[in-house]
Symmetry: C2
Protein backbone atom coordinates (compact mmCIF):
# COMPACT_ATOMS: atom_id res chain seq x y z
CA UNK A 1 0.00 0.00 0.00
CA UNK A 2 1.65 3.21 -1.13
CA UNK A 3 1.28 6.43 0.80
CA UNK A 4 -0.93 9.22 -0.53
CA UNK A 5 0.82 12.60 -0.21
CA UNK A 6 -0.56 15.83 -1.68
CA UNK A 7 1.68 18.61 -2.89
CA UNK A 8 1.24 22.20 -4.03
CA UNK A 9 4.02 23.95 -5.93
CA UNK A 10 2.99 27.58 -6.20
CA UNK A 11 5.07 29.42 -8.78
CA UNK A 12 4.80 32.96 -10.06
CA UNK A 13 3.04 31.99 -13.30
CA UNK A 14 1.47 28.61 -12.55
CA UNK A 15 0.64 26.30 -9.70
CA UNK A 16 1.12 22.54 -9.95
CA UNK A 17 -0.94 20.37 -7.61
CA UNK A 18 0.10 16.73 -7.40
CA UNK A 19 -0.71 13.51 -5.61
CA UNK A 20 2.31 11.25 -5.20
CA UNK A 21 3.62 8.33 -3.20
CA UNK A 22 6.81 7.90 -1.15
CA UNK A 23 8.79 6.73 -4.18
CA UNK A 24 8.16 10.00 -5.98
CA UNK A 25 5.64 8.54 -8.43
CA UNK A 26 3.07 11.18 -9.33
CA UNK A 27 -0.40 9.61 -9.56
CA UNK A 28 -2.41 12.76 -10.30
CA UNK A 29 -1.46 16.23 -11.45
CA UNK A 30 -3.33 19.46 -12.15
CA UNK A 31 -1.97 22.78 -13.36
CA UNK A 32 -3.62 26.06 -12.38
CA UNK A 33 -2.58 29.52 -13.61
CA UNK A 34 -1.33 31.77 -10.81
CA UNK A 35 -3.68 34.75 -11.03
CA UNK A 36 -5.04 36.70 -8.07
CA UNK A 37 -4.65 35.08 -4.62
CA UNK A 38 -8.38 34.56 -3.94
CA UNK A 39 -9.13 32.74 -7.17
CA UNK A 40 -5.88 30.80 -7.24
CA UNK A 41 -6.15 29.48 -3.69
CA UNK A 42 -9.81 28.54 -4.31
CA UNK A 43 -8.76 26.60 -7.41
CA UNK A 44 -6.07 24.77 -5.41
CA UNK A 45 -8.64 23.87 -2.77
CA UNK A 46 -11.06 22.59 -5.43
CA UNK A 47 -8.41 20.16 -6.72
CA UNK A 48 -7.42 19.01 -3.24
CA UNK A 49 -11.05 18.67 -2.14
CA UNK A 50 -11.70 16.37 -5.08
CA UNK A 51 -8.74 14.18 -4.22
CA UNK A 52 -9.66 14.16 -0.55
CA UNK A 53 -13.12 12.85 -1.42
CA UNK A 54 -11.50 9.97 -3.33
CA UNK A 55 -9.54 9.07 -0.21
CA UNK A 56 -7.80 11.06 2.49
CA UNK A 57 -4.19 12.02 1.90
CA UNK A 58 -1.72 11.55 4.71
CA UNK A 59 0.09 14.86 4.56
CA UNK A 60 0.21 18.03 2.48
CA UNK A 61 3.34 19.80 1.30
CA UNK A 62 3.32 23.38 0.07
CA UNK A 63 6.33 24.86 -1.73
CA UNK A 64 5.85 28.46 -2.80
CA UNK A 65 7.56 31.43 -4.35
CA UNK A 66 8.64 33.86 -1.65
CA UNK A 67 9.60 35.57 0.46
CA UNK A 68 7.66 33.53 3.02
CA UNK A 69 7.20 33.76 6.76
CA UNK A 70 8.44 30.36 7.96
CA UNK A 71 8.73 31.23 11.65
CA UNK A 72 6.18 29.06 13.46
CA UNK A 73 6.22 31.50 16.37
CA UNK A 74 5.16 34.40 14.15
CA UNK A 75 1.53 35.57 13.83
CA UNK A 76 1.99 35.67 10.05
CA UNK A 77 3.48 32.16 9.81
CA UNK A 78 2.56 30.58 6.51
CA UNK A 79 2.16 33.83 4.60
CA UNK A 80 3.75 35.04 1.40
CA UNK A 81 5.28 38.33 2.61
CA UNK A 82 7.12 41.09 0.72
CA UNK A 83 6.83 39.71 -2.81
CA UNK A 84 6.93 42.07 -5.77
CA UNK A 85 4.17 39.97 -7.42
CA UNK A 86 1.06 42.13 -7.74
CA UNK A 87 -1.66 41.35 -5.20
CA UNK A 88 0.18 38.58 -3.38
CA UNK A 89 1.89 40.58 -0.66
CA UNK A 90 0.88 39.34 2.84
CA UNK A 91 -1.21 36.44 1.51
CA UNK A 92 -1.99 33.65 4.00
CA UNK A 93 -1.29 30.31 2.34
CA UNK A 94 -0.20 27.48 4.65
CA UNK A 95 -2.49 28.49 7.50
CA UNK A 96 -5.50 28.50 5.20
CA UNK A 97 -4.82 25.06 3.73
CA UNK A 98 -3.85 23.66 7.15
CA UNK A 99 -7.26 24.69 8.49
CA UNK A 100 -9.04 22.83 5.69
CA UNK A 101 -7.33 19.40 5.79
CA UNK A 102 -6.71 17.57 9.10
CA UNK A 103 -3.22 16.38 8.18
CA UNK A 104 0.35 17.55 8.85
CA UNK A 105 1.25 20.45 6.55
CA UNK A 106 4.84 21.16 5.47
CA UNK A 107 5.59 24.63 4.16
CA UNK A 108 8.74 26.03 2.62
CA UNK A 109 10.05 27.87 -0.41
CA UNK A 110 9.75 26.32 -3.88
CA UNK A 111 13.54 26.06 -4.08
CA UNK A 112 13.93 24.50 -0.65
CA UNK A 113 11.33 21.97 -1.76
CA UNK A 114 13.30 21.23 -4.91
CA UNK A 115 16.47 20.82 -2.86
CA UNK A 116 14.75 18.22 -0.66
CA UNK A 117 13.34 16.41 -3.73
CA UNK A 118 16.84 16.28 -5.23
CA UNK A 119 18.22 15.01 -1.94
CA UNK A 120 15.61 12.27 -1.74
CA UNK A 121 15.38 11.09 -5.36
CA UNK A 122 17.72 13.16 -7.54
CA UNK A 123 21.33 14.31 -7.88
CA UNK A 124 21.84 15.04 -4.18
CA UNK A 125 21.03 11.66 -2.70
CA UNK A 126 22.72 11.02 0.62
CA UNK A 127 23.84 14.63 1.07
CA UNK A 128 23.02 16.52 4.26
CA UNK A 129 24.45 19.73 2.77
CA UNK A 130 23.14 20.69 -0.64
CA UNK A 131 22.22 23.80 -2.64
CA UNK A 132 19.65 23.94 -5.44
CA UNK A 133 19.71 27.04 -7.64
CA UNK A 134 17.04 27.93 -10.16
CA UNK A 135 17.74 30.59 -12.78
CA UNK A 136 14.56 31.63 -14.55
CA UNK A 137 12.34 34.65 -14.01
CA UNK A 138 14.36 35.11 -10.82
CA UNK A 139 17.35 33.49 -9.12
CA UNK A 140 16.23 31.29 -6.24
CA UNK A 141 18.40 29.21 -3.95
CA UNK A 142 17.26 26.26 -1.87
CA UNK A 143 19.73 25.37 0.85
CA UNK A 144 20.04 22.34 3.10
CA UNK A 145 22.49 22.57 6.02
CA UNK A 146 22.94 19.58 8.31
CA UNK A 147 19.86 18.00 6.73
CA UNK A 148 17.58 20.97 7.43
CA UNK A 149 16.60 24.21 5.76
CA UNK A 150 17.98 27.40 7.20
CA UNK A 151 15.61 29.57 9.20
CA UNK A 152 16.90 32.29 11.51
CA UNK A 153 15.63 35.65 10.34
CA UNK A 154 14.46 34.07 7.08
CA UNK A 155 14.99 31.42 4.43
CA UNK A 156 17.86 31.49 1.97
CA UNK A 157 17.67 34.50 -0.38
CA UNK A 158 21.13 34.21 -1.89
CA UNK A 159 19.84 35.37 -5.28
CA UNK A 160 19.72 38.87 -3.85
CA UNK A 161 23.29 39.07 -2.64
CA UNK A 162 25.56 41.70 -4.17
CA UNK A 163 28.54 40.66 -6.26
CA UNK A 164 31.56 42.27 -7.83
CA UNK A 165 30.98 43.49 -11.39
CA UNK A 166 33.15 42.53 -14.32
CA UNK A 167 35.87 45.08 -15.13
CA UNK A 168 34.37 48.03 -16.97
CA UNK A 169 30.75 46.94 -16.44
CA UNK A 170 28.36 49.85 -16.06
CA UNK A 171 24.89 48.38 -16.78
CA UNK A 172 22.81 49.05 -13.68
CA UNK A 173 21.12 45.65 -13.43
CA UNK A 174 17.45 44.67 -13.40
CA UNK A 175 16.37 43.87 -9.81
CA UNK A 176 13.67 46.29 -8.58
CA UNK A 177 15.09 45.98 -5.04
CA UNK A 178 18.83 45.95 -5.62
CA UNK A 179 19.72 46.72 -9.25
CA UNK A 180 22.79 44.61 -9.87
CA UNK A 181 22.39 41.81 -7.32
CA UNK A 182 22.76 38.25 -8.69
CA UNK A 183 19.13 38.13 -9.81
CA UNK A 184 19.48 41.58 -11.36
CA UNK A 185 22.39 40.34 -13.49
CA UNK A 186 21.61 36.69 -14.24
CA UNK A 187 17.85 36.02 -14.30
CA UNK A 188 16.02 35.68 -17.62
CA UNK A 189 14.49 39.18 -17.58
CA UNK A 190 17.88 40.67 -16.69
CA UNK A 191 19.52 38.87 -19.60
CA UNK A 192 16.84 40.15 -21.97
CA UNK A 193 17.07 43.69 -20.62
CA UNK A 194 20.86 43.74 -20.84
CA UNK A 195 21.11 42.16 -24.29
CA UNK A 196 18.11 43.98 -25.73
CA UNK A 197 16.43 40.74 -26.83
CA UNK A 198 15.33 37.36 -25.50
CA UNK A 199 18.29 35.38 -24.17
CA UNK A 200 17.15 32.30 -26.10
CA UNK A 201 18.05 34.07 -29.35
CA UNK A 202 21.65 34.80 -28.30
CA UNK A 203 24.67 32.71 -29.26
CA UNK A 204 26.73 30.92 -26.63
CA UNK A 205 29.48 33.47 -27.32
CA UNK A 206 27.37 36.51 -26.53
CA UNK A 207 29.15 38.61 -23.88
CA UNK A 208 26.05 38.67 -21.66
CA UNK A 209 26.77 35.06 -20.64
CA UNK A 210 30.04 36.17 -19.13
CA UNK A 211 28.05 38.42 -16.79
CA UNK A 212 25.62 35.61 -15.99
CA UNK A 213 28.36 33.06 -15.30
CA UNK A 214 30.39 35.50 -13.23
CA UNK A 215 27.45 36.47 -11.00
CA UNK A 216 26.35 32.87 -10.46
CA UNK A 217 29.92 31.74 -9.78
CA UNK A 218 30.39 34.45 -7.16
CA UNK A 219 27.12 33.48 -5.52
CA UNK A 220 28.31 29.87 -5.56
CA UNK A 221 31.60 30.85 -3.95
CA UNK A 222 29.68 32.62 -1.18
CA UNK A 223 27.48 29.55 -0.69
CA UNK A 224 30.55 27.32 -0.44
CA UNK A 225 32.40 29.70 1.88
CA UNK A 226 29.44 30.19 4.20
CA UNK A 227 27.35 27.02 4.17
CA UNK A 228 29.62 24.33 2.67
CA UNK A 229 27.22 22.44 0.37
CA UNK A 230 28.61 19.18 -1.05
CA UNK A 231 26.99 19.88 -4.41
CA UNK A 232 25.34 22.85 -6.10
CA UNK A 233 22.58 21.94 -8.57
CA UNK A 234 21.56 24.45 -11.24
CA UNK A 235 18.11 24.28 -12.80
CA UNK A 236 15.49 26.67 -14.11
CA UNK A 237 14.62 27.81 -17.62
CA UNK A 238 17.77 29.80 -18.33
CA UNK A 239 20.07 26.90 -17.43
CA UNK A 240 17.87 24.14 -18.87
CA UNK A 241 17.87 25.85 -22.26
CA UNK A 242 21.63 26.44 -22.19
CA UNK A 243 23.26 23.62 -20.17
CA UNK A 244 26.74 24.63 -21.33
CA UNK A 245 26.56 27.29 -18.63
CA UNK A 246 26.93 24.69 -15.88
CA UNK A 247 30.53 23.81 -16.78
CA UNK A 248 31.36 27.50 -17.19
CA UNK A 249 29.96 28.31 -13.73
CA UNK A 250 31.94 25.45 -12.19
CA UNK A 251 35.20 26.53 -13.85
CA UNK A 252 34.74 30.11 -12.66
CA UNK A 253 33.83 28.94 -9.15
CA UNK A 254 37.00 26.86 -8.92
CA UNK A 255 39.06 29.84 -10.09
CA UNK A 256 37.48 32.06 -7.40
CA UNK A 257 38.13 29.55 -4.62
CA UNK A 258 41.75 29.01 -5.62
CA UNK A 259 43.72 26.58 -3.50
CA UNK A 260 42.20 27.61 -0.21
CA UNK A 261 39.42 25.05 -0.01
CA UNK A 262 39.31 21.68 -1.71
CA UNK A 263 36.22 21.00 -3.78
CA UNK A 264 35.38 17.47 -4.90
CA UNK A 265 37.29 16.78 -8.12
CA UNK A 266 34.14 16.40 -10.22
CA UNK A 267 30.36 16.66 -10.23
CA UNK A 268 30.30 19.56 -7.77
CA UNK A 269 28.15 21.81 -9.97
CA UNK A 270 25.52 19.76 -11.77
CA UNK A 271 22.09 19.79 -13.38
CA UNK A 272 19.24 18.55 -11.18
CA UNK A 273 18.73 14.80 -11.43
CA UNK A 274 14.95 15.15 -11.49
CA UNK A 275 14.90 17.77 -14.25
CA UNK A 276 11.60 19.61 -14.31
CA UNK A 277 10.12 17.23 -11.71
CA UNK A 278 12.28 18.75 -8.96
CA UNK A 279 9.68 21.51 -8.57
CA UNK A 280 6.44 19.52 -8.25
CA UNK A 281 8.12 16.76 -6.20
CA UNK A 282 9.45 19.41 -3.79
CA UNK A 283 6.32 19.65 -1.64
CA UNK A 284 6.05 15.85 -1.61
CA UNK A 285 9.61 15.57 -0.28
CA UNK A 286 8.92 18.26 2.33
CA UNK A 287 5.81 16.41 3.51
CA UNK A 288 7.62 13.06 3.71
CA UNK A 289 10.37 14.68 5.77
CA UNK A 290 7.72 16.13 8.09
CA UNK A 291 6.23 12.64 8.52
CA UNK A 292 9.65 11.38 9.59
CA UNK A 293 10.15 9.29 6.45
CA UNK A 294 13.93 9.66 6.26
CA UNK A 295 15.44 10.48 2.91
CA UNK A 296 18.65 8.49 3.20
CA UNK B 1 29.80 20.43 42.70
CA UNK B 2 30.76 22.32 39.55
CA UNK B 3 31.86 20.50 36.42
CA UNK B 4 35.53 20.51 35.40
CA UNK B 5 35.88 21.20 31.67
CA UNK B 6 39.24 21.77 29.97
CA UNK B 7 39.61 24.02 26.94
CA UNK B 8 42.32 24.81 24.42
CA UNK B 9 42.06 27.91 22.23
CA UNK B 10 44.84 27.65 19.67
CA UNK B 11 45.45 30.96 17.94
CA UNK B 12 48.05 31.97 15.41
CA UNK B 13 50.24 33.76 17.94
CA UNK B 14 49.26 32.27 21.29
CA UNK B 15 47.41 29.37 22.81
CA UNK B 16 45.19 29.79 25.87
CA UNK B 17 44.54 26.69 27.95
CA UNK B 18 41.76 27.00 30.53
CA UNK B 19 39.86 25.03 33.13
CA UNK B 20 36.30 26.22 33.60
CA UNK B 21 32.91 25.17 34.91
CA UNK B 22 29.48 25.09 33.29
CA UNK B 23 28.76 28.70 34.28
CA UNK B 24 31.74 29.93 32.28
CA UNK B 25 33.86 30.67 35.34
CA UNK B 26 37.52 30.13 34.49
CA UNK B 27 39.33 28.49 37.42
CA UNK B 28 42.77 28.10 35.85
CA UNK B 29 44.42 29.63 32.82
CA UNK B 30 47.78 29.28 31.08
CA UNK B 31 49.07 31.07 27.98
CA UNK B 32 51.58 29.43 25.66
CA UNK B 33 53.18 31.06 22.60
CA UNK B 34 52.21 29.34 19.34
CA UNK B 35 55.58 28.35 17.92
CA UNK B 36 56.31 25.15 16.00
CA UNK B 37 53.66 22.39 16.22
CA UNK B 38 55.79 19.86 18.10
CA UNK B 39 56.80 22.18 20.92
CA UNK B 40 53.45 23.91 21.16
CA UNK B 41 51.40 20.74 21.38
CA UNK B 42 53.83 19.34 23.96
CA UNK B 43 53.40 22.49 26.06
CA UNK B 44 49.61 22.19 25.84
CA UNK B 45 49.83 18.59 26.99
CA UNK B 46 52.08 19.55 29.91
CA UNK B 47 49.46 22.01 31.19
CA UNK B 48 46.60 19.56 30.72
CA UNK B 49 48.59 16.72 32.31
CA UNK B 50 49.12 18.85 35.39
CA UNK B 51 45.45 19.64 35.71
CA UNK B 52 44.48 16.03 35.08
CA UNK B 53 46.70 14.94 37.98
CA UNK B 54 44.85 17.36 40.25
CA UNK B 55 41.56 15.73 39.26
CA UNK B 56 40.14 14.37 36.02
CA UNK B 57 38.29 16.78 33.80
CA UNK B 58 35.02 15.66 32.28
CA UNK B 59 35.51 16.79 28.72
CA UNK B 60 38.00 18.67 26.55
CA UNK B 61 37.18 21.34 24.01
CA UNK B 62 39.62 22.44 21.31
CA UNK B 63 39.01 25.56 19.23
CA UNK B 64 41.73 26.26 16.70
CA UNK B 65 42.71 28.52 13.86
CA UNK B 66 42.01 26.80 10.56
CA UNK B 67 41.27 25.54 8.07
CA UNK B 68 40.51 22.33 9.93
CA UNK B 69 39.32 18.90 8.87
CA UNK B 70 36.10 18.48 10.87
CA UNK B 71 34.72 15.50 8.94
CA UNK B 72 34.65 12.60 11.40
CA UNK B 73 34.61 10.17 8.47
CA UNK B 74 37.90 11.57 7.11
CA UNK B 75 41.29 9.93 7.81
CA UNK B 76 42.67 13.38 8.60
CA UNK B 77 39.85 14.34 11.00
CA UNK B 78 41.13 16.65 13.69
CA UNK B 79 43.98 18.10 11.64
CA UNK B 80 44.85 21.67 10.83
CA UNK B 81 44.94 21.49 7.01
CA UNK B 82 45.88 24.11 4.38
CA UNK B 83 46.94 26.94 6.69
CA UNK B 84 49.41 29.54 5.48
CA UNK B 85 51.03 29.46 8.96
CA UNK B 86 54.56 28.13 8.58
CA UNK B 87 55.04 24.55 9.74
CA UNK B 88 51.43 23.93 10.75
CA UNK B 89 50.04 22.53 7.52
CA UNK B 90 48.56 19.01 8.03
CA UNK B 91 49.16 19.02 11.79
CA UNK B 92 47.16 16.44 13.81
CA UNK B 93 45.62 18.17 16.82
CA UNK B 94 42.32 16.74 18.09
CA UNK B 95 43.26 13.13 17.41
CA UNK B 96 46.46 13.52 19.40
CA UNK B 97 44.81 15.07 22.45
CA UNK B 98 41.86 12.66 22.23
CA UNK B 99 44.29 9.74 22.46
CA UNK B 100 45.83 11.17 25.65
CA UNK B 101 42.74 11.92 27.77
CA UNK B 102 39.88 9.41 28.12
CA UNK B 103 37.12 12.00 27.86
CA UNK B 104 34.84 13.33 25.09
CA UNK B 105 36.73 15.80 22.88
CA UNK B 106 34.97 18.61 21.00
CA UNK B 107 36.82 20.16 18.09
CA UNK B 108 35.96 23.12 15.95
CA UNK B 109 37.30 26.43 14.67
CA UNK B 110 38.22 29.20 17.10
CA UNK B 111 35.43 31.36 15.70
CA UNK B 112 32.80 28.63 15.87
CA UNK B 113 33.87 28.16 19.49
CA UNK B 114 33.44 31.87 20.17
CA UNK B 115 30.00 31.79 18.53
CA UNK B 116 28.93 28.99 20.88
CA UNK B 117 30.35 30.83 23.90
CA UNK B 118 28.39 33.96 22.91
CA UNK B 119 25.27 31.86 22.43
CA UNK B 120 25.66 30.27 25.87
CA UNK B 121 26.81 33.21 27.97
CA UNK B 122 27.13 36.34 25.82
CA UNK B 123 25.25 38.53 23.34
CA UNK B 124 23.65 35.67 21.44
CA UNK B 125 21.81 33.93 24.27
CA UNK B 126 18.79 31.98 23.11
CA UNK B 127 19.67 32.23 19.42
CA UNK B 128 19.85 29.11 17.26
CA UNK B 129 21.15 31.17 14.33
CA UNK B 130 24.11 33.39 15.05
CA UNK B 131 27.29 34.66 13.39
CA UNK B 132 30.48 35.70 15.21
CA UNK B 133 33.02 37.63 13.15
CA UNK B 134 36.55 38.39 14.28
CA UNK B 135 38.59 41.01 12.46
CA UNK B 136 42.23 40.87 13.49
CA UNK B 137 45.20 39.29 11.75
CA UNK B 138 42.55 37.64 9.55
CA UNK B 139 38.78 37.75 9.14
CA UNK B 140 37.18 34.67 10.68
CA UNK B 141 33.49 33.83 10.84
CA UNK B 142 31.86 31.42 13.26
CA UNK B 143 28.40 30.39 12.16
CA UNK B 144 25.59 28.61 13.96
CA UNK B 145 22.63 27.42 11.86
CA UNK B 146 19.72 25.66 13.55
CA UNK B 147 21.84 25.37 16.70
CA UNK B 148 24.74 23.61 15.00
CA UNK B 149 27.89 24.56 13.15
CA UNK B 150 27.93 24.11 9.40
CA UNK B 151 29.92 21.18 8.03
CA UNK B 152 29.38 19.90 4.50
CA UNK B 153 32.58 20.28 2.52
CA UNK B 154 34.03 22.43 5.31
CA UNK B 155 33.44 24.95 8.08
CA UNK B 156 32.48 28.54 7.45
CA UNK B 157 35.22 30.47 5.63
CA UNK B 158 33.21 33.56 4.78
CA UNK B 159 36.25 35.79 5.32
CA UNK B 160 37.56 34.55 1.99
CA UNK B 161 34.54 35.39 -0.10
CA UNK B 162 34.93 37.90 -2.91
CA UNK B 163 33.16 41.23 -2.74
CA UNK B 164 32.48 44.17 -5.01
CA UNK B 165 35.10 46.91 -4.79
CA UNK B 166 34.33 50.52 -4.09
CA UNK B 167 34.05 52.69 -7.22
CA UNK B 168 37.51 53.50 -8.56
CA UNK B 169 39.33 51.13 -6.19
CA UNK B 170 42.43 49.59 -7.70
CA UNK B 171 44.49 48.36 -4.70
CA UNK B 172 45.01 44.64 -5.24
CA UNK B 173 44.34 43.49 -1.68
CA UNK B 174 46.47 41.54 0.78
CA UNK B 175 45.26 37.91 0.93
CA UNK B 176 47.95 35.48 -0.29
CA UNK B 177 45.20 33.21 -1.66
CA UNK B 178 42.71 35.66 -3.14
CA UNK B 179 44.05 39.22 -3.17
CA UNK B 180 41.00 41.35 -2.53
CA UNK B 181 38.69 38.94 -0.70
CA UNK B 182 37.16 40.26 2.56
CA UNK B 183 40.24 39.32 4.58
CA UNK B 184 42.47 40.85 1.93
CA UNK B 185 40.65 44.17 2.30
CA UNK B 186 39.63 44.36 5.97
CA UNK B 187 42.04 42.42 8.23
CA UNK B 188 44.64 44.29 10.26
CA UNK B 189 47.58 43.49 7.95
CA UNK B 190 45.49 44.53 4.92
CA UNK B 191 44.66 47.85 6.56
CA UNK B 192 48.32 48.47 7.34
CA UNK B 193 49.42 47.47 3.84
CA UNK B 194 46.79 49.65 2.18
CA UNK B 195 47.31 52.71 4.39
CA UNK B 196 51.09 52.38 4.57
CA UNK B 197 51.07 52.40 8.39
CA UNK B 198 49.52 50.67 11.37
CA UNK B 199 45.74 51.05 11.37
CA UNK B 200 45.80 52.07 15.05
CA UNK B 201 47.53 55.33 14.06
CA UNK B 202 44.81 56.32 11.56
CA UNK B 203 41.94 58.70 12.26
CA UNK B 204 38.33 57.53 12.13
CA UNK B 205 37.97 59.57 8.94
CA UNK B 206 40.77 57.82 7.07
CA UNK B 207 39.41 56.52 3.73
CA UNK B 208 40.72 53.02 4.43
CA UNK B 209 37.85 52.49 6.89
CA UNK B 210 35.37 52.93 4.08
CA UNK B 211 36.97 49.94 2.37
CA UNK B 212 36.92 47.94 5.61
CA UNK B 213 33.28 48.76 6.38
CA UNK B 214 32.16 48.08 2.81
CA UNK B 215 33.84 44.66 2.65
CA UNK B 216 32.50 43.59 6.06
CA UNK B 217 29.00 44.86 5.25
CA UNK B 218 28.92 42.91 1.98
CA UNK B 219 30.07 39.79 3.80
CA UNK B 220 27.33 40.40 6.36
CA UNK B 221 24.73 40.77 3.62
CA UNK B 222 25.84 37.43 2.15
CA UNK B 223 25.62 35.83 5.61
CA UNK B 224 22.11 37.20 6.09
CA UNK B 225 20.98 36.21 2.59
CA UNK B 226 22.38 32.70 2.81
CA UNK B 227 22.25 31.58 6.44
CA UNK B 228 19.84 34.01 8.14
CA UNK B 229 21.61 34.69 11.48
CA UNK B 230 19.51 36.59 14.05
CA UNK B 231 22.55 38.62 15.11
CA UNK B 232 26.05 39.21 13.80
CA UNK B 233 28.67 39.86 16.48
CA UNK B 234 31.91 41.64 15.55
CA UNK B 235 35.02 41.13 17.66
CA UNK B 236 38.77 40.92 17.17
CA UNK B 237 41.52 43.46 17.58
CA UNK B 238 40.60 45.76 14.70
CA UNK B 239 37.01 46.16 15.90
CA UNK B 240 37.79 46.19 19.64
CA UNK B 241 40.18 49.11 19.15
CA UNK B 242 37.72 51.04 16.95
CA UNK B 243 34.17 50.14 18.07
CA UNK B 244 32.68 52.95 15.99
CA UNK B 245 33.03 50.58 13.02
CA UNK B 246 30.16 48.42 14.30
CA UNK B 247 27.48 51.05 13.71
CA UNK B 248 28.99 51.88 10.34
CA UNK B 249 28.91 48.22 9.27
CA UNK B 250 25.29 47.91 10.40
CA UNK B 251 24.22 51.03 8.49
CA UNK B 252 25.92 49.82 5.33
CA UNK B 253 24.41 46.34 5.74
CA UNK B 254 20.90 47.79 6.04
CA UNK B 255 21.49 49.88 2.91
CA UNK B 256 22.62 46.80 0.98
CA UNK B 257 19.61 44.74 2.03
CA UNK B 258 17.14 47.47 1.16
CA UNK B 259 13.50 46.68 1.76
CA UNK B 260 13.68 43.10 0.62
CA UNK B 261 14.27 41.45 3.98
CA UNK B 262 13.33 42.80 7.38
CA UNK B 263 16.13 42.93 9.91
CA UNK B 264 15.40 43.41 13.61
CA UNK B 265 15.06 47.15 14.25
CA UNK B 266 18.07 47.28 16.57
CA UNK B 267 20.96 45.30 18.02
CA UNK B 268 21.44 43.24 14.88
CA UNK B 269 25.16 44.00 14.54
CA UNK B 270 26.79 44.11 17.97
CA UNK B 271 30.01 43.69 19.91
CA UNK B 272 30.49 40.30 21.59
CA UNK B 273 29.00 40.20 25.09
CA UNK B 274 31.95 38.27 26.48
CA UNK B 275 34.57 40.62 25.06
CA UNK B 276 37.97 38.96 24.98
CA UNK B 277 36.64 35.95 26.91
CA UNK B 278 34.65 34.75 23.87
CA UNK B 279 37.82 33.09 22.57
CA UNK B 280 38.99 31.10 25.60
CA UNK B 281 35.42 30.20 26.63
CA UNK B 282 34.78 28.89 23.09
CA UNK B 283 36.23 25.41 23.65
CA UNK B 284 34.42 25.20 27.00
CA UNK B 285 31.09 25.93 25.28
CA UNK B 286 31.86 23.37 22.56
CA UNK B 287 32.65 20.72 25.18
CA UNK B 288 29.47 21.45 27.16
CA UNK B 289 27.41 21.15 23.98
CA UNK B 290 29.09 17.82 23.26
CA UNK B 291 28.14 16.62 26.76
CA UNK B 292 24.52 17.49 26.00
CA UNK B 293 24.44 20.39 28.47
CA UNK B 294 21.97 22.55 26.52
CA UNK B 295 22.77 26.19 26.15
CA UNK B 296 19.26 27.57 26.33
Amino acid sequence: MMRRIAGVELGGTKCIVVMADETGQITARETIPTLDPVGTVAAIEAVLDGWWQEGAFEALGIASFGPLDLDRASPSYGNITSTAKAGWRDTPLASRLAARYPVPVAFDTDVNGAAFAERRWGAGQGLDDLAYVTVGTGVGVGLIVNGRTTRGIGHCEAGHMRVARLPGATWKGHCPFHGDCVEGLAAGPAIAACAGRDGATLSDEDPVWEQVVDALAQMSQALVSIAGPRKILFGGGVIASRPVLIARIEAQLRALIGDYLTLPAEDFVMAPGLGSLAGPLGPIALALDLLGDTAT
